[in-house]
């Protein structure tokens, strides 16, 4: 039976093989996004002494499906003065990088779509593409609110991209590789080997920059619900809006996955012996991912929103210096102190 499946698989043309593999990643990912929105609404509701959605399906479990159906059948309004083509391209520009980056994410040691040798650079390049969707949307809408949102988003992402990049440099130095799989494998051997401990300041910077990068509360000035209403996507409706929504949540899951890979030991259990090893590798990966993803929701339920200039100050004056100093600390500690092996 297994032999038969393997032989059929090998007989398939390469294009179809790749297509199936992509489908196997993207479809569960979209389902995850859908249920992440439900989880968000439920988690925030319980934090706010509410109940959250509980009408559609048992315990509200079909709510994301209902939302998707509703958005699909809504008319997508294109404002008269908008730039038609850019207006339609923008949501796609936002979604594609958010999904494309998953191509190099190692779920376990062998479960990767493409194991390229500089996958970290690839991820960095793709995630910074996402901002074009936002900027183009803000420009194409031809609305002052959307334009303000786009400007805020552009400035914010430039600032935090740098902090994030420097945080990654620390990981690179410690792991000595640009390959995500090898970065995880360098953290093998239990929780004390995970980079979250030696690189703790970088971990914090990366996590917070990740929140800022995905335009989530308390850094959601690009959407700025109470000032610029919905910011860059204020003029979008129907599927255009839904695609932005998908992109935002896919990005959140992506940042969670990257945090797990870079700092939390990827698919490795916290301690490499019996009760912990009963859970399969991929299980550990998703457990950790859910915990980081939960943080995003927790932040949103708790914190007020930063002001635009305060975000800039935090990015440029706090995070970038912190990362720069810690990179030096890593370098010195690695070669001139007895605990150097810990940083490798």
């Amino acid at each position: 039976m297994v032999d038969l499946i393997v032989s059929i698989w090998i007989a398939l043309p390469l294009v179809i093989q790749i297509g199936l593999k992509i489908g196997a990643i993207v479809l569960p990912l979209l389902a995850m996004v859908a249920y992440y929105t439900l989880a968000e609404r439920k988690v925030i509701a319980y934090m706010h002494v509410r109940v959250g959605p509980n009408r559609v399906g048992p315990k509200g479990l079909l709510q994301p499906i209902a939302d998707a159906v509703k958005l699909m059948f809504k008319e997508m309004i294109i404002p008269t003065n908008a730039d038609r083509y850019l207006f339609i391209i923008a949501p796609i520009l936002a979604l594609v990088p958010a999904l494309g980056a998953w191509a190099v994410i190692p779920f376990t040691e062998n479960l990767i779509l493409t194991d390229i040798n500089a996958s970290l650079l690839y991820v960095l390049a793709l995630t910074s593409m996402g901002v074009y969707g936002v900027v183009v949307a803000g420009w194409a809408s031809n609305s002052k609110y959307a334009f303000l949102g786009a400007m805020r988003s552009a400035a914010q992402i430039v600032a935090y991209e740098i902090a994030m990049g420097f945080a990654l440099v620390g990981v690179l130095m410690a792991a000595g590789s640009l390959n995500l799989r090898e970065i995880v494998m360098a953290q093998q051997g239990g929780i004390h080997q995970w980079y979250v401990l030696p690189l703790f300041p970088l971990f914090m910077v990366y996590l917070i920059s990740g929140v800022a990068e995905t335009n989530r509360a308390p850094f959601d000035v690009a959407e700025g619900e109470s000032e610029i209403v919905a910011g860059f996507h204020v003029d979008y409706s129907g599927m255009g809006f839904a695609v932005f929504f998908l992109a935002e949540y896919a990005n959140m899951i992506l940042i969670s996955a990257l945090t797990v890979i870079l700092f939390l030991g990827g698919w490795y259990p916290p301690l490499p012996f019996a009760p912990f090893t009963w859970i399969p590798d991929i299980g550990w990966f998703f457990i950790k991912l859910s915990m980081v993803a939960f943080l995003f929701l927790w932040f949103r339920a708790t914190f007020p929103r930063y002001r635009y200039d305060q975000i800039m100050r935090l990015g440029w004056k706090v995070f970038i210096p912190v990362t720069l100093i810690w990179i030096v600390v890593i370098g010195v500690a690695r070669f001139y102190t007895p605990i150097g092996h810990w940083f490798a």
Partner: protein, 417 residues
């Protein structure tokens, strides 16, 4: 090279942070506000003119709808003005009930304010925390007056009826189990006063909870400290009253400076701010909730010990009992006259202000001796505050405008009237 110019931006009236129907025309230099032009009048309902065409009693309901989040305080100013004009003295128990409900209203107003202000700045959690407590106060309103918002409970000569002996309870349903219903009905076993007392016991801890979320929150402080600073002198010149004036450090409270009802007998403090920024006004309002709670507690204790009439016995001014009407000719005539023609006031003019949650809410009546006012003018605190929006917001950023609208606690019912 083209010249770089400021651009104008339209804010509202359909805007989540506009607190109703505020419309702002903003001149912006990038994110920085250069000038704000508030447009009002979108909720104008001609309350003053309507009141001039109706007997005095008929306008109490309009007063509820002025500042529709501090209903009974508006009624309070109106009935006090009429009583002043008529020169009547209200029974003490009615005065205590009025003061108690004024303070309940103040807490309700401030709860809604902290909810909306928090949401404007992005702190979503406070919203429903505050609404949880507000719900109980709505129930108190409903139990006593029959309406959760627009009570029409204060009447010239007293209050519509005494506090009920029974607090309504939740009935079991298929959504809630019996245990849940029992837990919900725990503090509803006794009278309305018992329910208020249990609320008063519980409430300070709730205020602590809101303060936990906000007071020491770094982001909250960054968003409110040093935003829209108003000096005490300038606050006076701009006609600020209430928490807006006290936030600037000027201890002005009509409950102390021009006492009415039984306020002189009650103990409470007037919180004042130091710098006059949004954060100080926030702290002042939080403390006012605690002080109001303290006043309610004193009123509850007094009301429990002192039963008595809550309405004047002068049936030219107050309706006779329904029972008497059935077999007493005099009562029937009184009833008919009161509800058709009303009562006439002596000619003259009167101004009566109360310390409403938002500031000095005043009613000015000119009477020509008829059964309706010749002219009625409402002095709404929000109007003066909104007029200062331009000065307060100048040089701040777009996000701060939202924080400033929140700190002003604007309600359009009273601004537009």
């Amino acid at each position: 090279m083209t010249e770089i110019r400021n651009y104008t931006m339209n804010f509202g009236p359909q805007h989540p942070a506009a607190h109703g129907v505020l419309r702002l025309i903003m001149e912006m230099d990038g994110e920085v506000v250069e000038r704000i032009d508030p447009h009002i009048g979108l909720l104008h309902r001609a309350t003053e003119k309507l009141a001039e065409s109706k007997p005095y009693n008929h306008s109490i309901g309009y007063m509820d709808r002025l500042d529709y989040v501090s209903m009974m305080c508006n009624e309070h100013a109106y009935v006090l003005a009429i009583e002043k004009l008529l020169g009547v003295q209200v029974p003490t128990r009615a005065q205590y009930i009025r003061v108690m409900f004024s303070e309940i209203t103040r807490i309700r107003n401030h709860l809604l304010w902290i909810a909306a202000h928090g949401l404007d700045i992005g702190a979503m959690a406070v919203f429903l925390y505050a609404f949880r407590e507000r719900e109980d106060l709505c129930d108190v309103y409903e139990a006593t007056s029959g309406a959760r918002l627009h009570a029409a409970y204060f009447r010239p000569g007293g209050v519509y009826r005494d506090l009920p002996e029974k607090m309504p309870r939740y009935a079991s349903s298929k959504v809630h189990s019996d245990d849940e219903i029992r837990a919900k009905n725990m503090n509803r076993e006794g009278s309305v006063l018992d329910f208020i007392e249990s609320f008063v016991e519980r409430f300070p801890a709730c205020v602590d909870e809101y303060e936990n979320l906000l007071t020491d929150n770094r982001i909250w402080k960054q968003r409110t400290v040093d935003i829209a600073v108003v000096s005490p002198e300038r606050a006076l010149q701009l006609g600020f009253t209430g928490p807006m004036l006290r936030g600037s450090g000027f201890a002005w409270d009509l409950r102390r400076k021009q006492p009415y009802e039984v306020y002189p007998e009650l103990k409470f403090d007037i919180p004042v701010g130091v710098t006059g920024d949004c954060y100080d006004r926030y702290l002042v309002r939080m403390e006012e909730m605690r002080q109001s709670n303290h006043i309610i507690k004193q009123c509850v204790n007094w009301l429990k010990d002192n039963p008595g009439p809550v309405m004047l016995d002068d049936h030219k001014l107050t309706p006779p009992s329904r029972e008497n009407m059935k077999d007493d000719m005099e009562s029937l005539i009184h009833h008919f006259k009161l509800f058709t023609e009303g009562y006439s006031t002596p000619p003259g003019q009167v101004y009566q202000a109360v310390e409403a949650p938002k500031g000095e809410f005043g009613i000015y009546i000119i009477s020509d001796g008829a059964n309706k006012p010749y002219r009625l003018k409402v002095r709404a605190p929000g109007f003066a505050h909104l007029a200062a929006l331009d000065e307060m917001a100048r040089g701040h950023m777009l996000s701060d405008v939202v924080a400033i609208i929140g700190t002003q606690d604007i309600v359009f019912g009273e601004v537009d009237r």
